[in-house]
Symmetry: C2
Subunit: 334 residues, 2 copies
Amino acid sequence: MKNQSKLTYTQIAREAGVSEATVSRVLNGDVRVDPERARRVHETVAKLGYKKNRAASALATGRTGMIAVIIDDDLSIFADPFWATVTSGVSRVLMENNMQTLLLVGASNNSDGNFSNYLDSGAVDGAIFFQVHDEEIVFQLAQEGLPVVMAGTPDIYLQFLHADTDNVGGAKQATQHLIDCGRKNIATITGEVAASAGAQRLAGFLQVHMNLGREVPPSMIAHGNYTHDSGFAAMNQLLDKNEIVDAVFAANDLMAIGAMAAIQDRGLTVPGDIALVGFDDTIVAQTSRPQLTTVRQDIVGLGAAAAELMIAQLNGEEPKPRLLETSLVIRETT
Amino acid sequence: MKNQSKLTYTQIAREAGVSEATVSRVLNGDVRVDPERARRVHETVAKLGYKKNRAASALATGRTGMIAVIIDDDLSIFADPFWATVTSGVSRVLMENNMQTLLLVGASNNSDGNFSNYLDSGAVDGAIFFQVHDEEIVFQLAQEGLPVVMAGTPDIYLQFLHADTDNVGGAKQATQHLIDCGRKNIATITGEVAASAGAQRLAGFLQVHMNLGREVPPSMIAHGNYTHDSGFAAMNQLLDKNEIVDAVFAANDLMAIGAMAAIQDRGLTVPGDIALVGFDDTIVAQTSRPQLTTVRQDIVGLGAAAAELMIAQLNGEEPKPRLLETSLVIRETT
DNA sequence: CTGAAAGCGCTTACAG
DNA sequence: CTGAAAGCGCTTACAG
């Protein structure tokens, strides 16, 4: 078990009485090796506590066994449990496939390709992008032959392989639920509509109304940016502009909680006066009083799906994009 | 900019009219190179869009430029924003030093060294451990010569280099603040006291009382495990067992919020009847109603400190362990 | 099924 | 300050 730092194929080969080529074949699972010699190699490896040198292996094969997870934003975004949770899903699937997760957090658009640079130095076998601000960089990397997967929905003109939550479907579930509860005047607080998730959640909200032949007056749509404070402010706007609002669909939980505070500050009650539905099912939905009805998305599953797409792609398959279903979690605010 | 995949020192050397050795020296910042030839090399590298192959470099030098961040728990732990945030701090400092973060999440004690295995294959230059359940594995790796840093406080018999929040100091701040507010009967809800953070926060709480010559009856100490529900249950215990409790220090925010729910469910008010202080200053402290007074710890700073210790260690320095100060954030529950 | 040998793309004493 | 050459530890056609 000691000073294994010096161990190489040379020692294993000698000890096991085979060539280095055979050691390599055994360790890589090549079937065409005499079972008895293979057994000896495995035994020797175990006895000596040998560990293969990754760098040498990577140099010889051109494969590193590492996939980059790129969070294209300033570091603070990682404080949001959302992406951390997605990352854990990626990590699990990669580990199951004997691959590792290389974490790259930081704004891609600063300093001429901070990590775009890194990515085509052959350091990784592929890259999974979260929260892409500038798809140009993804496009370029894909062009250069780096296998790429996006978590989220890419620009319609670009055809990256991607995994995403069914945001439209989730927003529809939320909106339909409010209607089923008998609410007549349903407002929405959007997320950033410049990004796909925000746009899709608004679209789902509008589609349900459209299908029912109902108009949604602009005053019933307030824009937020996913923060608690923006939800608070948006709710106040809605209350200022409208005579009657008896329900609100917020594009995430944090804004819903902010909206709840604004409602209660005016002496109104949830769900008595105004029903509330969030999106995500994060910890704040469970700790708020009353507890928040929300649309749960499978966050770990999203990461897992992205990783699975990557693995499939590396295996030469041509997988289809994945869209993950949401489910409504009914608690106390509706 | 195209097919750079084939570029090696050979092409750069030829184009720049120097030897490969010189290319290597220039790219590694060796000072003893003629400035003019160095300029030509840099120019050629830029023109051809050359990127150094990391694996080859790692094989030759024995250094990979990667540090493992190891979260020794099942994957779900990563959903806790705490460790994700610490990780972002590690990542920032490593990037500033041209190193990368390799993320290893998973229980170390399952399947015979799942990643202990990986770690001494030379895949990383060092390892930063979070949330260590079994320090034996850390010890073994350190023994084998892998530079190791722990986030948190190691067992007193082991002397790992580590960075930690001053949990004792933070707990003292919280407790003293409650006393300063005039509270007389202060209870505490602990975290897992088997781990250092939980034990230290309890110790700080007790020390303040001891210094004042006050006894803390056992009935004023309830144990939780950092979850919302455990805080709720612990608070109910405290209320059941004690005639009077006019303040509670909870070892994290989530338990404090759970305690708040329990208090309010009994028709009591916060802070009217019972004052409340949490620990961490996470998002739930800001979104709760009333907003939670809590002890803020510098979570990103903790990761940054751990990374700095690692870098110093790799540079052959002998840095001292780091203890990060906390600060009290007074909001509405005291 | 197996081994000898060349090769992956860097780095670094060594000699000048 | 600079170059030729050996070496890092694997992998993989190639020939048998």
